[in-house]
């Protein structure tokens, strides 16, 4: 089933390349819609009673057995929801680019579909290297989308995007393979199965875990992005075409947080516990610093891009709170941020198609001219700010609540604070993070106030250019554009009012992760393994295992 979900976009990507250029977008739309329908079908097939079971919907085919690589797929409910998000954004992106992409349509839609296949693969992969392959493969389509279809500074943006993430992730690969080695030495044999590795990796001594944590964060923190390594994101977002930005914000950034959830927490639990405060500080700096940067932006797309940095800070904060509240909030955040920020990028893209500028100096009071657009803008801004009743509130609140409670000093064992759970963060972290919410409210409301209300400002010399030249688009949103936004709006509202079904469905995998981390960090640390001789350790590698046969009779040296 999951293989089909990967295969359908890939097949249609080939179909797009073969189709005549004018039909490319039709083929792409068909492909993404079929993928969406299949995803919905997968949700029905999925057994929601066993949400933590990653064997569901999966398959395993040997690929390169000597490397231990299997084409092995399977999802738990967390991964499934993220696949749903990916498949949902697929057709919306095609529809949202319907008129924006005029030239080289085959290139655009072909790579867009390939990107969808790769992203699905990331969430579906049960094999570590398959995960990595899909994780990396997302770079090429995104690189092409930014490079060919971006705005003025696209070359620099695409190269920066590629190099940043590639550098990070190849170091992460080294870290992941180190974990594989450790697992091999514990006796499970050479395996790349994520679950098996997760079970044994926690036995790693703290020093080694810290190394691995550093390597993994080098890759995944860049992707998220966390504070000091976020600089590629605003550039890439600003230059990318609308659909590229939507995918980037909606799904690609989640690859980083998902990877932290899937690898960092189970593989290096002790190190995470040890260094969670440091990571949390980075998150909080990112939340506040990026928020303040947003406030002074004049480019509205850049503003939303920086707001992503700020928002994902909350998401990672929730993850490293290491309690089920925080992680649940974080997973919800991944989905909600994909919906609301994706929608904001759509809105900005639609506006850009009409005015060809994103500068807030040249735009203002658009509610007078584009009431429907302004309505959606206000709605999604509110969702993004975290207005209670909309989706952003739930996840942000849970992330902060989790952070607040995550203080083992107040542990429930002592019974001092009934709400507190095990963890290493605490109220102070939550308090600082909460200032980020205020900052977010400031810049987002500032943006929406400036753009939608107040006196009407339009770019000079734009009117006749637009009316006569590109009269294809009416002033306000078309039915197609509304159709793109409506599903997102509906989901934002639904998840804001009724988050509990979703939360229930992801509870069991998250609980088992929390148990795993907690158990591992309380277990006595094993002695360091560094500097162990290669020969005998490597002997654990399976296949042809009988590698060192001692000759009983010995040999003679004759001189």
């Amino acid at each position: 089933m999951l293989a089909v979900l990967m295969l359908v976009p890939l097949l249609f990507a080939v179909g797009v390349l073969l189709a005549p250029a004018r039909r490319a977008r039709d083929v792409a739309l068909l492909g993404t819609v079929i993928a969406l329908v299949l995803t919905v079908y997968a949700m029905f097939v999925f057994d929601w009673n066993f949400t933590a079971d990653r064997a569901q919907l999966g398959m395993t085919v040997e690929w390169l057995p000597r490397l231990g690589l299997n084409f092995s797929l399977g999802v738990d409910s967390v991964a499934l929801w993220l696949i749903v998000l990916t498949s949902l954004l697929g057709p919306l992106c095609v529809l949202g680019s319907w008129t924006a992409i005029q030239s080289q349509q085959r290139t655009f839609y072909g790579w867009l579909l390939a990107l969808q296949a790769a992203m699905t693969g990331v969430f579906a992969a049960k094999d570590l290297m398959l995960f990595y392959i899909c994780f990396e493969f997302t770079l090429i389509p995104m690189f092409v989308l930014i490079r060919v279809f971006g705005s003025t500074n696209r070359k620099a943006a695409s190269v920066k995007f590629f190099l940043y993430t590639f550098t990070g992730s190849i170091i992460a690969l080294a870290g992941l393979l180190y974990v594989v080695w450790f697992a091999t030495r514990t006796g499970v044999g050479w395996t790349l199965d994520i679950e098996t590795l997760g079970r044994v990796a926690m036995g790693m001594p703290l020093e080694n875990q810290a190394l691995v944590l550093l390597a993994l964060l080098a890759g995944f923190a860049v992707k998220v992005p966390l504070f000091p390594v976020h600089t590629w994101l605003p550039l890439a977002h600003t230059e990318a075409p609308t659909a590229g930005s939507v995918i980037l914000a909606g799904v690609l950034l989640k690859l980083g947080t998902y990877a932290i959830y899937r690898f960092v927490l189970p593989f290096t639990p002790a190190a995470v516990v040890e260094y969670a405060p440091a990571i949390a500080v980075l998150c909080i700096i990112g939340i506040i610093y990026a928020g303040l940067i947003c406030w002074v932006q004049t480019d509205v797309k850049k503003l939303v891009a920086y707001s992503s940095v700020s928002h994902l800070g909350f998401c990672v904060l929730g993850l490293i709170a290491l309690n089920s509240t925080g992680i649940t909030g974080s997973v919800l955040y991944m989905i909600n941020h994909g919906l609301s920020t994706g929608a904001l990028f759509f809105l900005i893209g639609f506006m850009y198609e009409r005015y060809h500028t994103r500068s807030m100096r040249e735009l203002g009071g658009l509610a007078a001219k584009m009431p429907v657009w302004a309505t959606f803008m206000v709605f999604f801004t509110m969702a993004s700010v975290g207005l209670p009743g909309l989706n952003g509130f739930v996840s942000e609140f849970l992330c902060m609540l989790g952070t607040f409670q995550a203080d083992s000093g107040w542990g429930d064992a002592e019974g001092v604070m009934p709400g507190a759970t095990w963890g290493v963060l605490g109220p102070w972290f939550a308090a600082f993070a909460a200032t980020g919410v205020i900052v977010a409210a400031m810049y987002l409301l500032y943006m929406v106030g400036r753009m939608c209300f107040g006196p009407l400002v339009e770019p000079p010399a734009h009117d006749e250019h637009d009316e006569h030249h590109e009269g294809a688009l009416p002033r306000d949103l078309t039915a197609r554009e509304i159709g793109v936004l409506l599903p997102l709006a509906a989901l934002c509202l639904y998840l804001g009012l009724q988050p509990s079904p979703l939360m229930r469905s992801i509870a069991s995998p998250i609980n088992s992760t929390v148990q795993l981390v907690r158990g591992a960090s309380e277990a006595p640390p094993s002695p360091p393994l560094m500097g162990a001789p290669a020969g005998d350790l490597a002997g654990d590698v399976p296949a042809h295992g009988d590698d060192a046969v001692h000759s009983p009779a010995g040999t003679e040296v004759v001189r």
Partner: protein, 546 residues
């Protein structure tokens, strides 16, 4: 000696092929001359088949699985190289003859060219057969000497012939310097150990440890041989020589001497061994190789970033790839299974590198631009602008081979690099792995530039056209298909290289190093074990008695 002949059938085949090529290539009949590359190709196919059928490893082989892997490897990549190199010489002369000019045997060079082509490949195969230092020296020289001539021949009658001549002379002198250094090293190794045979040398080192003379010899040998693999600091010739020769010959230089050199390094290092606990690995050799690896990949990558000529960039990138392979050499045979065996990783990398690098050069060879009315090889980034649109086959082949050289998943180059990572991690070389990872990231910059230029840019001003040698397009397309197909069905190749990564390890049972081992009665004085996945002869003993 006679027994050794049974292992030499591939070399003998190539040698006969070379002799036939000399005769055919000088025929006054154009139809006969044109058959020369066909004969060369047939010789390579037969040699590959014979190489696969190499008999079980003999007692003098320090790497028992090497021959059965290296010979088919050299022959098959040789086929790709042949397709790329066809038409490198005599094209103008042949055209003139077709136009009515009289045949003059003195002006025709294809006979020499194809013969030297095969001689050099013969030399590379002989390196894999080497069991002692003298043999290895002769084989290395047989690999290199023809290439000096090929460099010059490939530029003859073309624009920029002076540059080819300069390249040839430079290559020759520096090559001679390298040969002098490793010959001196071989002599000292003999002086220090009293034997030229690798197996006996290994036994000597295991028993007596390293001595000063042998150590000096080992250092000089490794440094001298690193000229062949273009490792820093013996890399200075690379960019000039590659740029001075035609792309087909540059591809040849980037693979054949490098394979021969890498095999020689493995053979030499095998005598000292990799295992720490036996105390037989000299820390000096270890740190020398470590430094060579780090310097080679870093310098190669950094300099490649700065290039504006694609060929020079590929030259520096080929230096970097040598550095990657040296990581596998440092890692050593590990536990023998593919993922942990650095030697297998090197072997597999050589194979992948041969396929993808030749493909990249083949694309360049298949294009030419005209400058001042005269054809010239495509070389600059301008020439490959928009190649995917103007020449889709070549363009996409270039994109795929470049992504593969970059090590981008899920293309072959990635699966070649992963074993280097895993084997080095298995040997606890964490620092080396991090440096390797960072280097891969640096490399991403310049490979990506080629990919973006040829795939995404609109066609440029520079009017490149097809060079009119279809076999080069075929070579490019074959490599591109190879990097995709082997990425899916590469397991058999990995298995083959796993066999090739089998190394004899000598353990001195009463080692004076570290903790004295308890005397075990069943162990004799010296024990030799197969380390790694050996074929049927699992754990078979190797007797040193004569």
């Amino acid at each position: 000696m006679i027994e050794r002949l049974t292992y030499l059938w591939p070399e003998i085949t190539l040698f006969i092929g070379a002799c036939v090529a000399v005769v055919l290539g000088l025929s006054p009949k154009a139809e006969v001359r044109q058959q020369t590359p066909v004969v060369v190709g047939l010789a390579l196919i037969v040699a590959a088949a014979l190489g696969i059928a190499t008999p079980p490893a003999p007692s003098w082989a320090i790497m028992p699985g090497l021959m059965a892997f290296a010979k088919p490897l050299i022959a098959l990549v040789g086929l790709l190289l042949l397709l790329t190199a066809v038409g490198s010489v005599d094209r103008d002369e042949e055209a003139a003859i077709r136009a009515g000019k009289e045949f003059n045997a003195l002006r025709i060079t294809s006979a020499e060219f194809y013969a030297f082509f095969l001689f050099s490949l013969t030399g590379a195969m002989l390196c894999a057969t080497a069991g002692d230092l003298v043999w290895l020296f002769l084989a290395l020289e047989l690999t290199s000497l023809p290439t000096y001539v090929m460099v010059v021949l490939s530029g003859r009658g073309r624009r920029g012939f002076e540059r080819s001549q300069e390249a040839g002379v430079k290559y020759f002198f520096l090559g001679a310097l390298g040969a002098a250094i490793f010959l001196y090293g071989f002599a000292l190794l003999y002086g220090g150990t009293g034997t030229t045979r690798f197996v006996e040398m290994g036994a000597y080192f295991a028993e007596n440890g390293m001595n000063a003379i042998a150590a000096a010899g080992m250092v000089l040998s490794l440094v001298g041989v690193s000229f062949k693999i273009a490792a820093v600091p013996m890399h200075f010739y690379t960019a000039d020589v590659y740029q001075g020769s035609s792309s087909g010959v540059a591809a040849f230089l980037a693979f054949v001497p490098k394979t021969a050199g890498m095999i020689s390094i493995l053979l030499l290092v095998s005598t000292v061994g990799w295992t720490f606990e036996s105390g037989s690995l000299s820390p000096m050799v270890d740190s020398l190789l470590w430094a060579l690896a780090v310097l080679t990949m870093t310098v190669g990558n950094v300099l490649a970033v700065l290039q504006s000529s694609v060929k020079r960039m590929l030259a520096y990138s080929s230096i970097a790839h040598s550095g990657y392979m040296l990581v596998g050499v440092v890692a050593g045979p590990g536990g023998g299974a593919f993922a942990s065996n650095g030697i297998s990783a090197v072997m597999f990398y050589l194979l992948c590198y041969g396929v993808m690098n030749t493909g990249a050069f083949a694309v360049l060879a298949a294009l030419e631009r005209s400058r001042d009315g005269e054809p010239e090889e495509a070389d600059s980034f301008d020439d490959i602008k928009g190649l995917c649109r103007t020449h889709p086959w070549l363009g996409w082949s270039l994109v795929l081979t470049m992504l593969s050289l970059l090590g981008f998943p899920p293309i072959l180059g990635f699966f070649a690099k992963v074993p280097l990572f895993t084997s080095a991690l298995g040997a606890d070389r964490v620092a080396l792995v991090v440096i390797l990872a960072i280097n891969s990231a640096i490399a991403a910059y310049y490979y990506l530039r080629v990919v973006a230029t040829s795939m995404l840019e609109p066609p440029g001003e520079s009017r490149v056209r097809s060079a009119g040698v279809p076999s080069r397009v075929v070579a490019a397309a074959l490599s591109a298909a190879g990097v995709l197909v082997f990425a899916v069905f590469g397991d058999a190749l990995m298995g083959a290289s796993e066999q090739a990564g089998d190394v004899l390890v000598f353990i001195d049972s009463d080692a004076p190093h570290g903790e004295p081992l308890p005397a075990e009665p069943h162990l004799d004085h010296l024990e030799i074990e197969h380390h790694g996945a050996s074929p049927e002869g699992h754990g078979e003993q190797v007797s040193l008695g004569r």
